[in-house]
């Protein structure tokens, strides 16, 4: 089988960067980790530096196994902690959080579809100085949907066009958020068409139903943040593509770790950069579980900067997520993250009592679970821990735990999700369920899943309270392996060997 892999490529290269710590993982066509490397660099390494540092040792290792050149790699996947800073570090001390904003963001405009929502106007919950710097204008126009999918108000296309003309030539992106758009995106899509007509194709239109989450204000905030980040993210993506070409990887598809533990293709990441937030941590949790071969486990997440670890839970291979309510740059958003319980030591040291309490709080049920250590500080932490902790069956640092993020991102599927409300009296319940599953599958394909292998994976049904007619909220998730420009079974593309490229 490894011969076949050799002839057809099919390798995935995972690259992780956390501070000065670089990790790389090479995964073959069967999903087996064949080589791993870790390196410590100095002086604020970039993704370019990380790729440069990890690629040669991995290829050298693969060569021993009969693998070989950059041309065998058809997917490159990044898990970069510093992307959280690009998304803007949360404001911890109440002062302006914008130190990490290097400029080039915004200005953007915000449009809300739903005129009778003036109880809280758009952007009311933003730190004012941040809002004033990146948002040029905002408005509420008629539009939006009701719970049952009917119109809340007719879409005011003339009002939209008039607003667009006031911001034309002045904004790089427009965020559009409709009432109940996650259930019925029709008005957001129609609004996007109007805005594109007025503003031309160069202005990015960001729609809230693609971000998801229940709660108009938090979803709107996430959408506007995403609009602010999209133009610089697109420029960064272009730059990274050129770096890959220079490394002989121009043919490879590029993916990034995502907030929920899945991955997304570079084109999707560039237009949905908010989902990068927390992606590296999510990849570490997933990778640690995979390295240890555990489906149900706890993962103590360590970081390069030596801060106290936090504990996450993995159930049936999937990291447990928060219900949303993530504050980014002082702005409350609907983004879901991998749930992490911080270990809160009384003093500075990470003592056993604080750790066992965090272990208990991270669990979803009382069953004892393995505790795995992952991330750049995993081995240092392992050296300080007793062999047994209350509430665990074992405490382990799996091999290559320091490279868990690289392994996690290199083995993760591409994910997609979709939501609908189902009235339990609906005669076509099974049709609605199939529709939401298919919508999730399409979302996964758009995020970069192989269209032939993306499948609906699970469907959550949550009853809605206080409704006269019983209804449930459907949330479908789909996933599939990352697409490849070079399908297995085809000859691999001709590429310049690394040496000739001067690398």
């Amino acid at each position: 089988m490894s011969d076949l892999a050799h002839h057809t490529g099919g390798y995935r290269l995972g690259i992780a960067l956390d501070g000065d710590e670089v990790a790389g993982a090479l995964v073959d066509v069967h999903g087996t980790v064949v080589a791993v490397t870790t390196r410590r660099l100095t002086g604020k390494p970039t993704p370019d530096d990380a790729l440069h540092a990890a690629l040669a040792p991995l290829l050298a290792h693969a060569e021993v196994d009969g693998g070989g050149t950059a041309g065998d790699i058809d997917r490159v996947l990044f898990a970069i902690s510093e992307l959280d800073d690009v998304v803007v570090e949360p404001d911890t001390d109440g002062s302006a959080p914008q130190e990490t904003w290097t400029g080039g963001h915004g200005p953007v405009a915000a449009v809300r579809l739903g005129a009778a929502t003036t109880a809280v106007p758009p952007l009311a919950l933003w730190p004012p100085e941040f809002r004033d710097r990146v948002v040029l204008a905002s408005t509420c126009v008629s539009g939006g949907a009701r719970l049952d999918g009917t119109e809340l108000e007719p879409l005011d296309e003339a009002g939209l066009a008039a607003f667009a003309r006031t911001v034309a030539g002045k904004v790089e992106a427009v965020a559009v958020t409709g009432v109940f758009a996650t259930l019925t995106p029709d008005h957001e899509l129609a609004a996007a068409a109007v805005l594109e007509r007025e503003l031309g194709g160069r202005v990015r239109i960001v729609l809230s139903h693609e971000i998801g989450g229940s709660g108009l204000l938090e979803r709107e905030n996430a959408t506007v943040l995403q609009a602010v980040m999209t133009p610089p993210a697109c420029r960064d993506a272009e730059r990274l593509q050129q770096v890959l070409v220079a490394h002989g990887l121009g043919h490879a598809e590029v993916f990034f770790a995502r907030n929920d533990g899945t991955i997304m293709a570079i084109d999707y990441a560039a237009t949905h950069p908010l989902a990068l937030y927390g992606g590296a941590a999510a990849a570490t949790v997933r990778g640690t579980a995979l390295l240890a071969g555990e489906q149900d486990t706890l993962v103590a997440l360590t970081r390069a900067d030596g801060t106290a670890p936090s504990i996450g839970a993995v159930t049936a291979g999937l990291p447990r997520l928060t219900s949303g309510h993530t504050t980014i740059a002082g702005v409350p958003t609907s983004l879901r993250m991998v749930a992490q319980v911080p270990v809160r030591p009384d003093g500075a040291r990470c003592d056993t009592r604080a750790l066992t309490e965090a272990i208990d709080r991270a669990k979803v049920a009382p069953t004892d679970l393995p505790l795995l250590l992952g991330g750049p500080g995993a081995e240092e932490l392992a050296a300080t821990l007793p062999p047994h902790l209350a509430g665990t069956v074992s405490v382990r640092c799996p091999p290559w735990a320091a490279a868990a993020a690289a392994v996690g991102v290199a083995t993760a599927p591409v994910g997609g999700e979709a939501r609908r409300i189902l009235a339990l009296s609906d005669d076509d319940a099974s049709v609605v369920r199939e529709t939401v599953d298919e919508a999730a599958r399409v979302a996964a394909v758009r995020a970069g899943a192989d269209p032939q292998r993306a499948r609906a994976k699970l469907r959550e049904e949550t009853p809605l309270s206080y409704l006269a007619e019983p209804a449930v909220a459907l949330l479908a998730r789909a996933e599939g392996p990352p697409r490849s420009a070079v399908p297995a079974g085809r000859p691999r593309p001709t590429t310049v060997p690394l040496e000739e490229n001067g690398i």
Binding site: G114, A116, T117, T118, A119, V120, P121, A124, L125, G144, R146, L147, D148, L152, E153, V179, F180, S214, G215, L216, L217, R344, E357, D360, R361, A362, K363, V364, A365, P366, L464, S465, Y466, L467, A468, E469, P470, A473
Partner: protein, 367 residues
């Protein structure tokens, strides 16, 4: 006293404590209150004695499903059309708006309703906490008629329902709410200032603000959650029942057709930690926390306010967010005297929520 941008956050914290785990998060409606006072200026909080006897007190509350009103946030101006309809129906002036339910989302929302309607807010409410039922208000015990129910949506559509009994009123009002799309604002138990005397829960607004202020001061002074809770117990004649970890949340199957008050039941097991090591508590919950038992003995029960605080964050934990492993401090605060009379307990005592228990008054912490 006024509500303004300086004290609304503390007020909202107090509303969450009085929510007893229910009522929806006050943080969800706090932005609407802040926006309303920014637009219209501070909202004056008044006593009944400051108002003309023959003018009206108009209770107001959000109506429908929380999953809907986080999307359809409305205008906050629904109170304007309701006021117009109420004044036309009774042919009297409304002197003050009253919060129907201080516990949870409706607390801050009533400040927004008052600001938009240009009315002062009465320092009172209908419950002194959160309850699920329209009729679970002190005015029901006092014999004030619930009818008419005036309902409005965010597009100024308004409906006035008159019915001879609470049962019919609720049946018809629910259908109006469904037609609105499970989101609206409603007013019931409209009464004169004279009638309101003794029929409402007095002092609810200032109490919620005081609770929130105590909690904010504790955070500012670097006190732990457990000492903040002990201070609340001391100041309001309540009891800090125990410090625990949640060891299990067990839903109880119930008929989907069961009354709203009893249609989501669960039992929660709490194991004492730290100085409460070795104690085991059983918590009964529905939309709110209903009772705490230890060794088969009742420690606290509805209508007394049972609230759980996350030891680490210091925030009150709503019933749906209780999960295995959480560290909590359990606080019980006494309910207003009107609830402790037999006709009050019949409406909001443990048996009204499907528990085979009799209420007994809370034993306050020794100070």
């Amino acid at each position: 006293m006024d509500f303004d941008k300086g004290n609304l956050a503390a007020f909202a914290k107090g509303c969450d404590v009085l929510g007893a785990g229910g009522g929806g998060p006050a943080g969800q409606t706090l932005p609407a209150a802040l926006h309303a006072v920014a637009e219209h200026g501070p909202v004056r909080v008044v006593e009944l004695t400051e108002l003309p006897d023959d003018e009206l007190v108009m209770p107001c509350a959000l109506l429908g499903a929380p999953d809907v009103y986080v999307e359809r946030i409305g205008t906050g101006r629904e109170s304007v059309v309701i006021r117009r309809q109420v004044e036309a129906h009774f042919d009297r002036r409304v002197a003050a708006l009253m919060c129907t339910e201080v516990g949870g989302s409706n607390g801050p929302m009533s400040v927004a309703f008052a600001a938009h309607a240009g009315l002062p807010l009465l320092d009172a409410d209908g419950m002194g906490r959160a309850f699920p039922g329209i009729e679970q208000v002190a005015m029901q015990v006092a014999g004030i008629p619930a009818s008419p129910s005036v309902l409005a949506d965010e597009h100024d559509r308004v409906v006035l329902v008159r019915a001879e009994s609470g049962e019919w009123l609720e049946r018809l009002a629910r259908n109006v709410a469904t037609a609105f799309g499970n989101r609206g604002v409603s007013s019931e138990y409209v009464m004169t200032v004279d009638q309101a005397d003794g029929a409402v829960v007095d002092g609810s607004m200032t109490k919620a603000l005081r609770i929130g202020t105590v909690l904010e001061e504790a955070v500012r002074d670097g006190h732990s959650t457990r000492s903040a809770v002990a201070r609340l117990a001391e100041e309001f004649g309540g009891a800090r029942l125990a410090e625990c970890r949640v060891t299990g949340v067990h839903p109880i199957k119930n008929k989907a057709t069961a009354a709203l008050a009893t249609n989501t039941r669960r039992t929660i097991l709490l194991e004492g930690v730290n100085r409460d090591d070795g104690r085991w508590l059983r918590l009964e919950a529905g939309h709110e926390y209903h009772a705490v038992l230890e060794d088969g003995e009742l420690l606290a029960a509805t209508p007394d306010v049972i609230t759980l605080f996350d030891i680490h964050g210091g925030e009150p934990v709503p019933v749906p967010e209780l999960r295995y492993g959480l560290r909590v401090v359990v606080l019980a605060l006494p309910s207003p005297p009107s609830w402790q009379r037999p006709e009050g307990l019949a409406l909001v005592g443990p048996r009204a929520f499907g528990l085979s228990l009799d209420y007994s008054p809370l034993a306050a912490d020794d100070v």
